[in-house]
């Protein structure tokens, strides 16, 4: 009997008779995972994890394993189309790439001429690592408007970390943290930028203590030493309470605080405004538990915080991020082995340079939509999407005439979906690049067939902060699909930007790599390149901030006219901020808990992934369900001030009875009408996008916490209980 070996490539080839295999880099979500793609008769035959990958170590998730089902899906768009009926009529006609790109180019140049380049808005969603090319084409054109998820997803971590400590601090799982706080996140079933579940899991197997901050009882929360079951939207207060304990019990790193922080005294003053009695009242977390967690985190070395997007999709976005960094910082875990490292990326052209932000003229920068209101976001080229919808619908402060959305489905993913839909219905011209005719694409004039990660060459993760770049190698060609990078390189030539682009996109990859004297041809032979690994870099040169210190008191925010110290702000709708509304909408609705297999709106047409989750699910406590006459498996109506949607009930003890938890991202590709059920279960029908409800610095929409009613679908309408 032969010896068993994991990921035995030679034997797989022999046993299954594959023709070849390609090592590549998955991008079904945030990248990071090395994969082995086996090929037979020119088609992908099997996908497996690559054990040589320094990030996921050969493990792989549902999405990566199902990638071939995406690439070869029968409904996939494989050639460019133009719409020949009214919007959302579902009437399309095949056209050539030349016709598609020439039409788009002609529109861009016409709007630029008539209304200025700012009237042309580019956009992407969570992205296929296309952010650098999209910013490049917009900046060279002179449009300051690129609409992304950046206001409430990852962008805030980048912006707030740059102003606090220079760069995004990444958990150093390689050196096994001994205490981990998992804050508003479940890395075991989701993949926040830079992170995979495997290293987290291994750290726990090595004996790390675990603290989980989550209103829901997830499996990590069940396994935690301390579970802090907070009231949704009160993360900042909880963090301030923990900092209060650490400061007043003198559990902080004295040397770090004295030598390397800026603003300690005002920070202590602010922290003292949050004694545990007050924090308990705000957060619903017993003060003893807050104290226990703070002590455990501050006295166990090294310690780290596994964070993610949930704390950012809130009114308190920027302060939430900063407060978590303060916890990392004053405990001495920043840039410490096993703590939270400020990684050096390999010496490549970085995403900012590639994005050509320096080429945007100053007077055009000044025209960035919402730039005067959301000043931190604007500094980093990030927009609040409502500002774009307003510019389309009301033409204020100037009209937006064209959208070019690439891998983005804002009708489902952005707050107040009905307003988004109205804006896309009205916009003069819209081009979309995607895999399928999504509900957003159905409103476009032209839709371009985008390539999946299996169909492109790219320098994977070159915009990330985990310190690696990994080659993504093209394996197959599907129909006429083209990568976003190639299509934009082509389009750029057609709008007169040729001198800033390349003859083909391989030359752009060479450009990214040239500071290392490497070409794409050389890089694609490697597994990865890692930046220099070095700890405590701040001890030599300080932090890359205006004061060269770790800024507890932000001089940047102060200059911008914001409170330089973090604070707790109530969500725009809550039992505390809107008690009258709470009487009518008596449940706190939280949204967006991740489901393995889905990536926001993606993958609901992939059989192997949809099978894992047939229906959109709303979780409700059995006591609350009994009160509302709701039973397990019922379809129910969830209603907010902005609308109603239907989801299916799962009874669960895993949250406070006052809280209801609904899923996000739902549409129904199997419904063949052009709406594809975009409004039926789409939780963003219910969410609020008023600018007053957003984070004041980042413009993050508060889509995670609102007030709702919930009642059986069979009841015709909500009967007010007297």
């Amino acid at each position: 009997m032969p010896e068993f070996r994991h990921s035995n490539i030679e034997r797989e080839m022999e046993v299954y008779g594959y023709d070849s295999f390609v090592k590549s880099h998955c991008r079904m979500c945030h990248g990071g995972c090395g994969v082995i793609v086996y090929v037979k008769d020119g088609k992908v035959a099997k996908i497996a994890g690559d054990p040589d990958c320094p990030i996921a170590h050969g493990t792989l998730c549902t999405k990566g394993l199902a990638s071939a089902q995406l690439a070869y899906h029968k409904d996939r768009l494989t050639y460019p189309v133009k719409r020949i009926g009214p919007k959302a009529s579902g009437k399309w006609e095949r056209i050539s790439w030349d016709e598609a790109l020439d039409t788009i180019a002609e529109r861009i140049l016409t709007y630029k001429e008539k209304y200025g380049p700012e009237s042309v808005v580019f956009g992407y969603g969570t992205g296929r690592e296309n952010e650098a090319v999209i910013y490049r084409i917009a900046n060279v054109l002179g449009s300051p408007n690129v609409i992304t998820a950046g206001h409430f997803c990852y962008g805030p971590r980048i912006c707030t970390s740059i102003i606090t400590c220079g760069t995004n601090p990444i958990v150093d799982y390689e050196n096994f943290p001994k205490c981990i706080i998992m804050w508003g996140n479940n890395v075991t079933i989701s993949n926040p930028d830079e992170y995979k579940g495997e290293p987290f899991s291994v750290a726990l197997d090595k004996g790390a203590k675990l603290i989980v901050v989550d209103p829901r009882l997830t499996r990590p929360a069940a396994r935690a030493n301390v579970w802090l079951q907070l009231r949704p939207g009160t993360d900042a207060a909880l963090a301030l309470g923990m900092l209060n304990v650490i400061v007043n019990e003198e559990l902080y790193d004295r040397e770090f605080v004295e030598k390397y922080t800026h603003g300690w005294d005002p920070f202590v003053q602010r922290v003292n405004e949050y004694p545990l009695e007050r924090v308990q009242e705000i957060t619903w977390v017993p003060k003893e538990k807050i104290r226990e967690a703070a002590r455990l985190f501050a006295t166990t070395k090294p310690a780290a915080i596994q964070w993610g997007v949930a704390i950012e999709q809130q009114t308190n976005c920027a302060d939430n991020d900063r407060l978590l960094m303060f916890l990392m910082g004053i405990t001495g875990n920043i840039d410490a082995p096993g703590g939270q490292v400020l990684n050096r990326t390999p010496n490549v052209v970085n995403v900012g340079q590639f994005g050509a932000h320096g080429m945007l003229p100053k007077d055009q920068f000044a025209k960035r939509l919402g730039g005067e209101r959301f000043r931190l976001a604007s500094r980093f080229a990030i927009l609040q999407p409502k500002c774009v919808w307003d510019a389309i619908l009301e033409e204020k402060p100037y009209p937006v005439k064209m959208l070019f959305l690439i891998s983005s489905n804002p009708v489902i993913t952005r707050a107040n979906a009905k307003e988004v839909y109205r804006a896309l219905e009205k916009v003069d011209f819209m081009a979309v690049a995607d895999f399928f005719l999504t509900p957003t694409a159905e409103l476009a004039d032209i839709v371009l067939p985008a390539a999946t990660w299996l169909e492109m060459d790219y320098v994977g993760d070159f915009w990330k902060r985990h310190g690696y770049i990994l080659p993504r190698r093209k394996v197959i060609q599907v129909g006429e699909c083209r990568s976003d990078h190639e299509m934009l390189n082509d389009l750029a030539h057609r709008i007169g930007q040729g001198q800033y682009w390349w003859n083909n996109f391989e030359e752009a990859l060479d450009y990214i790599l040239h500071p290392m004297n490497t070409t794409w041809k050389d890089f694609k032979k490697m597994n990865y390149i890692r930046g220099e690994v070095k700890y405590y870099k701040y001890k030599e040169g300080g932090f890359s901030t205006p004061t060269r210190k770790f800024e507890l008191y932000s001089t940047t925010l102060e200059k911008m006219g914001y409170d330089p110290l973090p604070q707790h702000r109530e969500p725009s709708e809550s039992p505390v901020s809107t008690p009258e509304l709470y009487k009518e909408y008596p449940y706190i609705l939280i949204t967006g808990a991740r489901q393995p297999g889905f990536f926001h709106t993606e993958n609901r047409q992939i059989g192997r992934l949809r099978e894992l989750h047939r229906d959109p699910i709303v979780e409700i406590h059995p006591d609350a369900a009994a009160k509302e006459g709701i039973h397990e498996g019922d379809w129910v109506i969830i209603e907010s001030r902005r609308g109603i949607v239907r989801q299916r009930v799962r009874l669960s003890l895993g949250r406070d009875p006052r809280i209801v938890a609904a899923q996000h991202g739902w549409w129904f590709p199997e419904k063949k009408d052009p709406g594809h059920g975009w409004h039926e279960s789409n939780i963003n029908i219910l969410t609020d996008n008023a600018l007053e409800s957003c984070d004041p610095a980042m413009g993050a929409s508060n889509i995670r916490t609102l007030l709702c009613r919930i009642y059986p679908e069979k009841k015709a309408s909500y009967e007010k209980k007297e």
């Binding site: 009997m1 088609k43 792989l60 394993l65 075991t188 004996g207 499996r219 929360a221």
Partner: protein, 181 residues
């Protein structure tokens, strides 16, 4: 003869469900929406367990019992236990009577309406016989909680892991010996 067992340490499972999709990939063509899958992960809880609100993931898959009750229940001897421990269902012999389904204490046998036979995990014996790990156990699991190999060695590994965790992991893998009088 070396022993081949599959043991899943449910305490460590995060419910990522990659093993389900790996199983699907192994047994179905790329364009098959539905189709064969031999294992399924399901949430047990949140519920009160030993007075505490708890929540674990469970994995239903054939445990290849030492003394498999399904084999005893089968009137046509379609289920047999190999010397290496793998309990094999011979699809050609199965007459679809479904007597085995109720006998399985792990709910790991299902009825395939299309083929009119029962269906269960054969531990990827087509791979194992060629020296390859079963699809679900080939290092895809991010929790590293799916073990394949000699049961005694696996038990040792799990005990070591438990020790390293600081004693965590009271939910030991289910005993795989089922004996009937």
């Amino acid at each position: 003869m070396s022993k081949h067992a599959i043991i899943i340490e449910e305490f460590a499972c995060w419910g990522c469900r990659a093993c389900e999709v790996a199983c699907k990939q192994e047994y179905n063509s790329v364009d098959a929406d539905n189709g064969i899958k031999y294992l399924s992960v399901w949430p047990d809880g949140p519920k009160l367990m030993n007075g505490k609100l708890d929540f674990v993931w469970r994995v239903n898959v054939c445990k290849h019992c030492d003394d498999p009750p399904c084999a005893q229940a089968c009137p046509v001897e379609a289920i047999t236990k190999r010397e290496d421990g793998i309990v094999i269902l011979d699809y050609d012999k199965c007459n679809g009577c479904q007597l085995c389904i109720d006998e399985c204490p792990y709910h790991a046998i299902r009825f395939d309406e299309e083929k009119k036979t029962v269906t269960k995990c054969n531990l990827c014996h087509h791979r194992v016989d060629k020296g390859l790990y079963p699809a679900c156990a080939d290092n895809i699991c991010l929790a590293h909680c799916i073990y394949f190999g000699d049961p005694a060695e696996i038990e040792q590994k799990i005990l070591e892991k438990r020790k390293a965790r600081g004693g965590w992991g009271d939910i030991l893998p289910k005993v795989i010996t089922i004996s009937r009088g």
